[in-house]
Amino acid sequence: MRRFIDWEVKNPWKVIIVLVLLTLFFGYQMKHLRMNPDITAALPRSIPAKRLYDKMKEIFPSKTIAMVIYQGDIFSVQGAREIMELTSSMEDFKEVYSVMSPTNAKIILSSQEGIEVREALEAPPSSDEDVRGWERLLSLNPKVEKLLIADDRRSAMVLVFLQKSADEDAFAEKLLKFIEKFNSSHRGKLFATGEPVINLYISKGIAKDMGIFFTSGILLIFLLLLLIFTSVRGVLIPLTVVLSSVVWTLGFMALVGRPLSHSTEMLPILIMAIGIADSIHILSHYYFKAPKYPSPKELVRDVMYDLWAPVVMTSLTTMAGFLALNTSHMESLEELGIFSAFGVFSALIWSLSFVPSVLSLLKLRTVKKRRGIRERFRRWMDAYGRALVRYKTAFALGILLVLALSIVGISRLKVEASTIGQFPEDNPVRRAAEFVNRHFAGTTTFYVFVEGNRDGYLKQPSVLKTMDLLQKTVEKNPHVGATQSIADFVKLLNRAMHNGDPAYFRIPGEVEEEREVVDGRERTFKVEGEKIVAQLLQLYEMSSSPEDFANMADFNYRNGRVAIFVKTDKNSVLTKIDREISDFLRKHPGMRADITGMAKLILVVRQMVISGQFWSIIASLVLVWFLTTLMFRSPVLGIFNTVPLFFGIFLNFATMGILSIPLDIQTMVTSSLAIGIGVDYAIHFIHRYIREVKGGDYREAVKPSMTSSGVAIVFNSLVVASGFMLLVLSVFKGVRAMGFLLALTMITTAFASLTILPIYFITFRPKSLIKASRRVK
């Protein structure tokens, strides 16, 4: 390392040119950076529920659905006309494959001589009578009615299915513009939700956040640097380091083809907040030593000799904490871990190469250092150190009290996985989703995926009856808004074939006794139920578009699914319904079926959040312990390094419990990140303390440790925490919560390093510290 330092001080231009070229390269790559709002992408394919979900999506290549809700007097001449117009306008969009609305929904009518499949409203109504007729027709298909008409009958849902090749973002954008225009010229009012709309809002949110993060991050760093250094180089050099590190990281992401998600969008802030520390460290030292040196090259060389080891070490431990996120098995979090580690690594390279190179080119200037702030800090830390030594029992009791109170908070910690909950309460997407949950069937869906072992499996009456029974069973749960399956169609068709006789609104039995009239005389005959089902489905295929149930059964009736719409994504409700379904399936082993759907994935995410949280904390603690053990050549000192982290994590979870911030896919990252960053404070303190404790006086060593590394630690934690606080400006609640929690944990780990460690040291006088101090030259 020393040889590299000697070389770069002699060849600063070469270093700078290489760095600039690399930055141009990564900056160019950033052009290809994409955004990925897909929440399910976080799940690894190895999870059974996710694999089943992907398989189901392959068998039912159901088109993406946007929901447009019409609010107004729907069952009036004008309302009906406006919904018809809306339906037709939706079909006008080139991206739209088909539209299902209360006016064009298919109704099966039956009479003595025939069956009619028609649209609920075929021509614009001109009288109230027409409207009543339409209302009556809709009521003949209660499943469709439930799906498309609100419970208070004051709003209607129009489902818009998109063509496979459609650009969903572009469509959502156009749809929102259309709605704005429609609302200004019609009596009814529209709003939209559904996957493409939600994804558009997430993408927009990510883009907006990135803008805010960049500008506020740069501004904050600029102000801080100005405050600390009051010099041009003191501002520009660290700023260049962090911005270039961000460019490298985002460029690297684009290079390996990974998109920005609402987890990785916090990378710029993360990298800026962490990456700034090393260059501040180097520059402070540079200014501190400057008066004693005649030429910049020697000064820079000596500064780097002093600092390269701690700079490398703290960066490595931080990276280790981040990489521990890889144990979470959630793709977007693993990405956050890998790319933030890459960002820290970039900042390390820049701090070790760019900073000394530039400084060795610049003329020496001994700025009149504004020692005011630093001096004041030093006095405060000195007082703090003395208080600590004198009232150590009070301090210790205080900390124990805080920990005891924390247990109460932790006991109230909740785990929630929710997509829509990411948006603040007043966001239009969230309001729309909540509206649909309140008045329609619901937006969260379980699918019971029936996987047959032969073609035509679904035509068996026993299978259809089980599906039907399952639907009836789960519909008893008040949170289930509606259910849907091919069994509904079979029942409707069976009734229609029997002249609308309500006794036939059922699945045919294994063997049915049917009646026929021959030559005026009635006689009965027996027939297999499966044949009846097959021919009823054939009837529908011949009389209408079989695409009507393409999302309930596949083309050879081998696989099918029961859709269960739930009116909330509250994890406790979903868990209960999940249990009801699996109980049912266990009691009916005759039907080959399994549970999947977005609702199931939410529960899987929840489970993974819990186990991922546990394992990533363990992994990062072990990694940090291992690295600090190597660093201090003592496993006991390694353990000392992890003690403040336990305190920080403990308080983090307690705060979440008290403020009811749920543990979710975002906030679970906090601990691992906090461990990676927070360990630096313990390292700095112990590193210093070992040097001060040489004489064997544990108490006396506290004061100088406080006034030197203590000041740096407090300073650094405040800088990093204020950086993380910028995340509070995010559109997404999870990111906001994370920013707050990260900032808090920076403060608590710094506090713990400066309190728990010295108290322990002066109370128990560990021998390992003295042993370590003997190794120091």
Partner: protein, 253 residues
């Protein structure tokens, strides 16, 4: 020398008279036609490595120049064997459709408003298999191209109005017409965003009395990856089918 000049002169109008797109499609649609027809039809749908096969015996006759009667009897798979479908077209008013379900021993007239959509769950839509209405499309002859070693006309069809576009869901169709057979040999269907959606390939023809019938049609859905095939076997025309075949009574056989 003079003879050669004369020959050139004679052939000139032929070269110049490149037919318009509309003219090509008119010849395709209005080929000299048949009075009645029977065939065994095989419909094969395959997707994701699985397939579904339906076999149908088809009888059809021209009742009038504009109106056909068609009887379809399903023979495979066994659970729908015996079901029969009768279509009586009416150029004025609604077509009559009847279906016989042997399991219930019942005949039902079925009425359906919206046509369009997939034909029997296949990749063929009702529009793809029906007789095209020339007025629905704006045709343009893009000239001769070579396809599988044969010179064919490439004819572009754009929906004549928004309604056609919405109902067919097509933004453009390219027909490849073999001028020897006056039959479409290949067609490319584009969705409304201009992306290729389906490709029709006609794999075999049968010539009866100078008319070329398409006997093996394969539709590949590029966007979903599925494929449907319609195959006509034992195709016979003008056998003097009895009109009583096309009545409700004959549905029960």
């Amino acid at each position: 020398m003079r003879i050669k000049a004369l020959w050139l002169l004679l052939s000139l109008p032929l070269v110049a008279a490149m037919p318009s797109g509309r003219e090509v499609m008119e010849r395709v649609v209005n080929k000299a036609t048949w009075k009645d027809m029977t065939a065994d039809v095989l419909m094969r749908i395959s997707a994701r490595g699985r397939e579904r096969i339906r076999k149908i015996k088809m009888f059809s006759r021209k009742r009038t120049a504009e109106e056909n009667d068609t009887l379809m009897r399903f023979t495979y798979p066994p659970d729908v064997a015996g079901t029969a479908f009768l279509l009586i077209e009416h150029s004025k008013g609604e077509d009559e459709r009847y279906l016989y379900l042997p399991a219930l021993r019942r005949i039902r007239r079925i009425a359906s408003s919206g046509k369009g959509g997939a034909f029997m769950g296949s990749d063929f839509s009702y529009y793809d298999i029906g007789k095209p209405k020339l007025g629905d499309w704006k045709y343009r002859n893009l000239g001769m191209v070579e396809l599988n070693g044969r010179k064919v006309y490439k004819v572009e069809a754009l929906p004549a109005n928004k309604k056609v576009e919405k109902e067919t869901k097509y933004g453009k169709i390219i027909h490849y017409v073999d001028p020897q057979k006056w039959s479409v040999v290949r067609a490319e269907y584009y969705d409304r965003m201009g992306k290729l959606w389906k490709v029709l390939e006609v794999r075999s023809f049968k010539e009866i009395k100078g008319i070329w019938f398409q006997t093996d049609l394969v539709m590949n859905n590029i966007q979903s990856g599925s494929q449907s095939e319609m195959k006509f076997e034992n195709l016979k025309v003008d056998q003097g089918l009895s009109p009583s075949l096309f009545t409700k009574r004959s549905l029960r056989r």
